[in-house]
């Protein structure tokens, strides 16, 4: 299961890479070769969304903006902008946070 997922991601990345003419870093190639968890090695955020109610964000860097309607979070690969209504931070530690409320959109702004 994990393997097929990783392969799928790889394919997507390649397609995206061709379009934007962006080359993969050596580090990324290396982690793909060894099938290491990318979120840890490459410092990428891992988002888990349960319906549109609860969102677990692992590996974030900092909270940039917090309002009931907008939540902007800085991560290792750029900024994530979550919009919705009644957003609250249910739990926050140095590595991960749980956001609850009704989420309308999740955007990746200037992600590499």
């Amino acid at each position: 299961m994990a393997r097929s997922n990783a392969a799928g991601k790889k394919g997507n990345k390649k397609a995206a890479g061709k379009k934007s003419n962006d080359k993969k870093s050596v580090k990324e190639k290396f982690t793909e070769m060894l099938e290491l968890p990318k979120d840890l090695v490459l410092d990428r955020p891992k988002l888990t969304l349960v319906g549109n109610r609860d969102m677990l964000i692992e590996n974030y860097k900092s909270v940039l903006e917090y309002d009931t309607g907008v939540l902007r979070i800085n991560t290792g690969t750029g900024m994530i902008r979550i919009t919705g209504s009644g957003l609250s931070i249910r739990e926050i530690t140095s590595d991960d946070m749980v956001v609850s409320g009704s989420v309308r959109s999740v955007e990746f702004i200037d992600a590499g």
């Binding site: 900092s62 909270v63 940039l64 903006e65 917090y66 309002d67 009931t68 609250s88 931070i89 249910r90 739990e91 926050i92 530690t93 140095s94 946070m97």
Partner: protein, 398 residues
């Protein structure tokens, strides 16, 4: 489930609800997160004002962060067990009471307060209780002192009429279960000559002699004490007898009767509904009267109900609440229909007859009839049984 556990954990650890006001709330949250101050339920209340929850240790670290980011932190509420405790910390008597309660509970629970005896049919309860008390099992004894295994052995020897006994301690209760032994039939030793003698009157149905000479045959009417199988075996061609130990079974039809008079009237005591209750409290073994009223009824019946203080089934405490209810009664002579009267009498007669049937007898036929004498009707129940009436009796002895 996970969140429930989480909340329980937070409650046990204690937490505070704070209000943070300031322009750089995000910065405040970020620094808190980085310094390992766990925040949860961060909710925006108004523009630039947020409520959040944090642990007790986290709250101590939060002031410098607030100063650094220019936020104002106010404590809104304290929640959790540590705060509950600190509230009661000064109330020494309360804590002493709580501790005393648990000590008392433990002390009381280490004594025996109740003895429950089950399985005894013929043996008297008081007799068994006395026997148990002689072996150190009585109410008020420290339960750790009781050696149940030794007590079981002693009881088997002391009482003598038990086939099995089990003693177990459950809570403050000693459960004693017994099985009684059937009375042993009289045994004449094998080498001593004997006759088989009728134990009671009856009509012989079948005689099977394994040893000895049959002196009765099928259809004979025998009286109690009559020799059925003789141990005197005549020697051929002589007047002399050889004495043997007679053995065998003699099945006979026997009858058992019971009588009861048919009463056309029945004395009935009817409660008038007026009642006076006395209450008393039994502490250990001392009875304290709490409420005792004068009973002004001319005739009354009293009922006693005892309630023991127990926790669960087995943890019995030596406190008992006794209520004695005195019900006023009037005696009425109620006449009943003849049919009912006959039925009641018949039932009673049957019960009496059944009580006379010995163990081992098989009831073959039941008859109930009514006889009239001096204008009084009597119900008679006759039970026809088949049983072994033979009993070995030593020759020359009694």
């Amino acid at each position: 489930m996970k969140f429930l556990l989480f909340r329980l954990w937070n409650y046990l650890r204690g937490y505070v609800i704070i209000i943070v006001e300031g322009f750089f709330l995000e910065k405040f949250i970020n620094i808190c997160a980085r310094r390992g101050i766990r925040l949860w339920d961060v909710r925006l209340q108004a523009e630039r004002r947020v409520t959040a929850k944090t642990g007790i240790s986290g709250f101590r670290l939060i002031r410098p962060v607030a100063r650094k980011t220019g936020c104002r932190v106010r404590l809104l509420k304290k929640r959790g067990l540590p705060f509950v405790f600190s509230k009661y910390r000064r109330r020494k008597a309360f804590f002493a009471g709580a501790v005393l309660f648990f000590i008392l509970l433990n002390v009381l629970a280490s004594f025996v307060w109740c003895i429950e005896i089950t399985g005894n049919e013929k043996l008297d309860r008081v007799f068994l209780e006395n026997a148990l008390a002689a072996n150190g099992i009585r109410t008020g004894v420290l339960k750790y002192r009781i050696d149940t295994r030794r007590a079981v052995d002693r009881m088997m020897l002391d009482v003598g009429r038990l086939s099995w006994i089990s003693i177990s301690i459950r809570g403050t209760k000693v459960k004693v279960e017994v099985r009684e032994r059937e009375d042993l039939p009289e045994i004449v030793p094998r080498h001593i000559p004997c006759d088989i003698v009728a134990q009671r009157d009856g009509i012989i149905r079948q005689v099977i002699a394994k040893e000895g000479i049959e002196t009765v045959s099928e259809g004979d009417t025998v009286k109690k004490g009559q020799v059925l199988i003789s141990g005197r075996v005549p020697v051929k061609g002589g007047e002399q007898h050889r004495l043997v130990h007679a053995m065998g079974t003699v099945m006979a039809r026997t009858w058992y009767e019971g009588e009861a008079q048919v009463e056309p009237e029945r004395a009935e005591t009817v409660r008038t509904g007026r009642v006076i209750r006395d209450h008393s409290l039994v502490l250990f073994s001392k009875e304290l009267d709490l409420i005792r009223k004068r009973v002004g009824f001319s005739e009354y019946v009293s009922e006693e109900s005892r309630k023991k203080l127990t926790i669960g089934d087995d943890l019995v405490f030596p406190f008992e609440w006794v209520t004695v209810s005195h019900y006023e009664v009037v005696n009425l002579q109620a006449s009943i229909s003849e049919e009912d009267a006959r039925e009641t009498a018949a039932r009673e007669a049957y019960k009496k007859a059944l009580g006379r049937v010995p163990d081992g007898a098989e009831i073959m036929r039941e008859n109930i009839y009514f006889t009239e004498q001096d204008g009084k009707l009597t119900a008679k129940a006759v039970l026809e049984c088949i049983e072994n009436i033979g009993r070995p009796i030593r020759i020359g002895g009694n």
